[in-house]
Amino acid sequence: MPLDTSLVRKPFKVIGTRVRRPDGIDKVTGRAKYGADAFAPGQLVGLVLRSPHAHARIKKIDTSKAEKLPGVKAVVTAADLPDLTAGDRGLRDTLENCMARTKALYDGHAVAAVAAVDMHTAKQALKLIKVDYQVLPHVTDPDEALKPNAPLLHDDIFTEGIEPKPVKPSNFIKIAEYGHGDVEAGFKEADVIIEKSYKTEQTHQGYIEPHACLASVSPDGTAELWVTTQGPFVYRNTCAALLGMDINKLRVTSSEIGGGFGGKTHVWAEPVALALSRKANRPVKVVMTRDEVFRATGPTSSASMDIKIGARKDGTVTAAFAELRYQNGAFPFTWAEFGAMTAWACYDFKNVKSVSKDVVVNRPKCAAYRAPSAPIAAFAVESTMDQVAQAIGMDPIEFRIKNAAKEGTKSSYGPVYGPIGIGPTLEAAKNHPHMKAPLGPNQGRGMACGFWFNFGGQTCVDVNVTPDGSVTVAVGTVDVGGSRASLALAVAEELGVPYDQVRVIVADTSSLGHNDMTDGSRGTFSSSMAAVDATRKAVQTLRERAAKIWEIPVDEVEWMDGHAHAVGEKHGNKAPLSVKEISAQAANTGGPIAGHSEIVADGAGVSFATHICDAEVDPETGRTTIKRYTVIQDAGKAMHPSYVEGQYQGGAAQGIGWALNEEYVYGKDGRLQNPGFLDYRIPVCSDLPMIDTQILEIPNPNHPYGVRGVGETSIVPPLGAIANAISNAAGVRLNHIPMSPPRVLKALKAKKK
């Protein structure tokens, strides 16, 4: 990255200030347009027919009656989509998840879709589609799915990572192993060994805005897609590949996004909407119901795990072992492997090993969910760490500090760490007033650490100086949490102009080069890097134009405080030129003034956090209330501290929901029992306390302002922190997430006996 990363620009002028976000007024007045808020002339209503069975062969689909219903303009099944069976497995699975081809693999799997003139007609049409299913035995639990006689989802999955390659297909996708040293020898050196098994249930990202899009395919093959997404460019590329279109013919415009958390990094109904529009020759709007969101879009894995930690009485961990079994939903991926990579990443252990087993089950295809896979493993690891600390009589923070990874530690996923932030977050936690605050009856305090890989990726930013000197900035990373404010700050900082002189928009896919998605905590990290790069190029042009106006060499022009200054004694009489003055003469000095940046923002650096939690357990009902919560995390540099705090608080709240209440409940019939917010209960305002945050700023050497991604790590520690707090509050150790009142009550009753 050819950027000045020496941080000589400190102290900043506007970076780090809490400015008002540019999209604020639109969002508080109802003007902001989200996925479902678009309208196109002649638009049709698109609806999807979904399998009521967890596992069924599709023998025949008869759409003839639906097609004849007046007002129905198109009916689509897998027969209308390309058959990718012989091609790339990933692409084929993506398409077959959008529309089942030969088998329905989970309750909610799409089997057909209609486009009709109105909702009423579309609903009627769905009822007229006759699907002839042969219901098959199903499996929804990862441990059950691994058994030799489990119902088989795919006949072409042969466990990867076993030599020789199995000849029999199974649900067992892959086994992988990470770690170093000799764990067996390490356990022999231990004074204390704690060995426990854990389970976590499946949770959904739970964004409040359901998936929605408006697709319009023209007879000439060009198409427009308005959609709520974390990555319009990736949606474009994927939809084009799935439907056999040229990428340039599909223009994707991202709406304002009503939350994503990873769930809007995958396509779901969008290819279907395009197929419907292509067939109907009309714009088609598809808006999912909440029921569809739960049944057919990306939850994260449920899991079953075994953890073993051995330690000496002085607090040195001699060996640590984890076996993690994650279900991936109905299509193969490697979610458990990411759990195995992250499980022990906070610690410096001589002997450490994690084994992952990925498995398919009859549930919706798992999608990324904020630091995907990490919170699950961290729950099991952090719960066990506390039990080891207790067994050797050591304070849990001191125990973690003693074993924390640091610069030079060989990480459990392989590489040796450079400078990292787990130690500082632990020290900050130890010294935080929260740690010393008194606790009431039935209350307990817990803490836990968390790790996540951040990344950067392909990024593209255009900075244009308008004729009046105000600045427009086009970025390609969707703003999910206030990034437009941070990016405007970066441009204002570089140019030396006021924040409100800069307007940032999220461009459509035909206006800018490819951008990766807003995921991996990369939105602000990578786009600010590109924005700084683009602005520095614009500043260079501004200097050149000032030199032309003054008729002096460009190296005698300096840029300072938003003005060109002529330097040297002979230019002492020249008044500085503002952006406005220079841009007013743009036409006569060489044309429009702009800066562009197309980069790969690689080298993001890993991220750590430590959380502290006070929980109160009601002995009568088993209900847990979070009384106080503190998040400590390194941001590198907080460009807009309010939105960094927002990421910390939001991640913690999602983790609290996961820990205490949220859970997919499947019936014996393999159908999801709680596909709604009444029974899938995410935290409400009265469930939570204020969430305190402490932002550490240890500059990231790979970013011009020292910024680190902050979006994801905050969801990693809560599950373990709360389990530890409950244990300290009620004297019961919960090994099964969520720690809902019935589970806690059961544990309390078992303890009494």
Binding site: A176, G262, T265, F338, M341, G414, G457, G520, D602
Partner: protein, 88 residues
């Protein structure tokens, strides 16, 4: 060519790649960039290329690179290949 020897790296591999290099935990390479390293692996170890297509990240002294194949592998650096991780 005198300084080639200083550019010999031990390239550590994650588990999935090890069977493709005869069960070893690492291979040695004189590659100077990620691109050279990937070419070296693809030419010498059939099967690795499929992984590279699927996505391989390279940790250089603990910092993870996913896309920038021109990134240099400094002499003496610790090189670790890892699967490419998705985000949320």
């Amino acid at each position: 060519m005198s300084n080639v020897s200083t550019h010999i790296h031990t390239v550590h591999l994650w588990g999935a790649l090890r069977p493709l290099v005869g069960g070893k935990e690492s291979v040695t390479s004189s590659a100077r960039t990620i691109r050279e390293l990937f070419r070296f692996l693809a030419e010498n170890y059939p099967g690795v290329e499929a992984h590279i297509r699927r996505g391989v990240a390279v940790s250089i002294d603990g910092r993870i690179y996913r896309d920038q194949w021109d990134t240099e592998l400094p002499a003496g650096a610790e090189i670790y290949l890892m699967p490419r991780i998705p985000g949320g």
